[in-house]
Structures are given as C-alpha cells and as structure tokens.
Chain length 206, copies 2
DNA sequence: AAGGCATTAGGTATTTCTACCTATTGGAAT
DNA sequence: ATTCCAATAGGTAGAAATACCTAATGCCTT
C-alpha cells in the first residue's frame, strides 16, 4: 500500500441506507475516505468540481435516478469517474451508461473485492485526469494574461504566418506585430515559436 | 437516403445460419452490402485492414468466441466499429466488451430498426475514422521520406531548439543543421516551423 | 488629473533562419 | 567502376526574428 489516497474521496449515492453503510464500512476498512448521500440532489448540493475521488452511483433511486445524474454530470463537464451500480441485470442500461461516459457498471450483489478493485481503478483514472487537468489549467492561466490582440497574433503565428503576413492580415505595421510577439513570448515564458505552437495546441484539443 | 454506403460492407459473424441470413436480408433491404461468416477464423481469413464498414459480431460461438475476436482485433490495431450481439443479457459481458472498445452491444431478440440504427451509427463512425486515418497516413508518408538524421533534427526543432543548439546536441556544424532543415522543409512541403510542429504532433498523438 | 496599460510605430543592432552556390566522404545500388 | 544519395561543411546574401531604446494615442481606474 504505497499511497493512502491522500484527500481523495469516494462519493456514494444510494437511496438504500443499509447499502450506503455497508459500502462505507467496506471502503473505510481499506482506508478510503467515503461520503454518502441518499439522493442525487444531496450529492449535487455538496459536490464541488475541485474534489478528487470517484462516484459510486446507484441507478434505481426515487427522484432523479442514477442515469440522469450521470448524464447531468457529464454534460456539465465534470469528469469524476462514475461506477454505476444496479440491482438487476439490464444490458441496455449498462450500454447506455458506458456510452455516456460511466467508468464502470456493476451489479448487486457484488463481491467486496470486486467493488474495491473497480474503486481503485476509478481513483487511478481520476488521479491521471487531475494531473492532466492541472497541467492544462496552468497553460490556460498563461494565455489569459494575453490581450485579445495578442491572442490574434498567437493564432496567426501558430498557423504558420510570418510577422509580415500577420501585419498585412491585421492591417498594422510589421513592427507592431514584433512588439506583440515579444510581449507574448515574455508573458508565456517561452523562447521559441515551437513552444508557442505546442502550448496553443495543448489548449485547443483539451 | 443521401448516401448509399459506397463500398462500405457490413461484416456479420455468427455461427447460426438462419440468423446470418436474416440479418443479411435485413441489411440488403436498406441497400447495405453485407458479407457473412460462420466463425471468427473465416472472418479473419477474409478481412483486410483497408476494408470499410462495420462488424456485427455474435458473442457465443464455437471455437473462438466473439469477445476473443473483439480483443484480437483491437489489440491488432483494427478499429473497425464492432457491434456485439448476444442472446442472453449478461451485464459483465457487455461491460467488458464496451471497455475493450466495442462500439455497441445489443441483445437478441432485437428489433430490426434498432439494429439498423446501430449499424448506421457504426458506419458513420467508421467513415469518420477513415477520414481521420487517411489524413494521418498522408502525413506519415511525408515523414517516411525523411532520413534518420533529419528526423532527429525535426524532433529537436519541435522541442524548441535553435540551429545552434541542435548542432551542439548532435555534435555537428550549425551549417549542416541548416542544410538538414532546408531538406526537411522541402520534403514535408512546408514553409514554417509552426507547420512542422503541428505535423509532428499530429503523428505523435495519432 | 495622474498613472497604468493596450495598441500603435519608428530606430538600431544582433541573432537566427533561409536560399542559393560549391565540395568531400562513405555507403549502397547498378 | 560509376552513379546516386546521405551526411558533412564552408561562403555569401537576404529575409526574418529578437532585443534593446523611445514615443504617441486612447481608455480605464484611482
């Protein structure tokens, strides 16, 4: 056991109190921190984007069901890995969940070790996502220091234009383009066009 | 019906002859070209990577089963969209198939329209993949015209190095680096470092 | 009103890149 | 053997980019 999960939290949403408690006990028995919720709305009220971990989500619930919450989270850009749990073997439901971005889909009754394996896999994925996302967030912060005009210049440079071509495209002097370029390089803390292109592309397809 | 599927083929692998025939009739009734196979090996013998379409694959078969074929195809880099078909609702099987890259997973007995909808969606995905892949293949062909030394220079340029730095890294004269760069630009048919970076990155994460 | 910043632009100097030229060495193919 | 090409490197020239400087205009905030 190399890492004891840090601040990662396993969120559990299930209307069945006995199930919530037993899952919580199971998770805490392997030193995972768990927070349980009786319904989708409770979870949404307490969850914040920056929290790390994964979500164990029962499909069948009164009020908003698990599938609806899953689709709401994914359409809201929250990429917390979701392990769906269902009491009856419904293949179309499983297919729909996975195609909507669920990380996994398991049936009750489940083996304890099986659940833990999938939780650990989900937590691994979340850690990987977070590493990637924080990297992207840093780049995004750099670009936010640029003015609109500077962003125009960035995109024209990335598209392969010379300062002279950019000047023509923007209707300004090549000299001014060079000034913008110098400010861009300083603000992004880079020293080559290659780095500018890579930074920009990283943000575009993130 | 805007497009009549061109040369796209729906491959059907199922050990049940009656099922093969009925699926083939259904597909041909909407002007889709179909080829059927009684077992996984037959399909593998006749399939070539360049063929476009999708694969309807029965899970339960004597000899190599559908799941094994799916995993074989995906590990072999063949990204033909695969619609798995199974006679009994087995959720873990569906989850496994989708996590291994199956495009969809449906149960028998299925509604005819439902099957056609999924086939059309699979064909759409394949067309999209093919457009993307042929684009990438063109870029790859360009890079294959480069020598090993030129590829080293490409990677050092993309990493943001100047000719002088590259020369130091390779232990050669900056002049020679410039010669390599000129040859690279000519062979790749580009006119800026920005284009070189984009071309290289497109191949790296493809 | 004063300061800060974005945008504009010029000057000058240096470095870097690109485009031509020639030329040698060594290996591979004809 | 001769031809072809990769890799090496030099010269010269021009284009492009970078690094400094100053400076005007306009907008926003204090």
């Amino acid at each position: 056991m190399s890492e004891c999960a840090g601040q990662a939290t396993v969120f559990v949403v299930d209307d069945d109190e006995a199930m919530r408690d037993s899952i919580q006990l199971l998770l805490e028995s392997v030193h995972l921190s768990a927070r349980t919720f009786a319904c989708a709305l409770d979870f949404m009220k307490h969850f914040e984007q920056k929290q790390e971990g994964c979500l164990l989500l029962d499909v069948r619930m009164p009020g908003m069901n698990g599938m609806e919450l899953l689709e709401l989270l994914k359409s809201g850009g929250i990429d917390l890995p979701v392990v769906m749990i269902t009491g009856h073997g419904d293949v179309p439901l499983a297919v729909r969940a996975l195609k909507h971005g669920a990380f996994d889909f398991i049936q009750k009754p489940f083996n304890a070790q099986e659940l833990l394996d999938r939780v650990h896999a989900a937590l691994d994925l979340d850690r990987k996502n977070n590493r990637r996302n924080s990297e992207v967030a840093q780049y995004r912060a750099l670009f936010q220091a640029l003015t609109d005009r500077e962003m125009e210049v960035v995109d024209l440079v990335v598209a392969g234009n010379s300062s002279k071509m950019i000047a023509k495209a923007l209707g300004i002097s090549p000299k001014t383009v060079d000034i913008h370029r110098a400010n861009i390089m300083r603000k992004l803390n880079i020293r080559s066009v290659a780095e500018m292109v890579q930074l920009r592309l990283t943000l575009l397809d993130a």
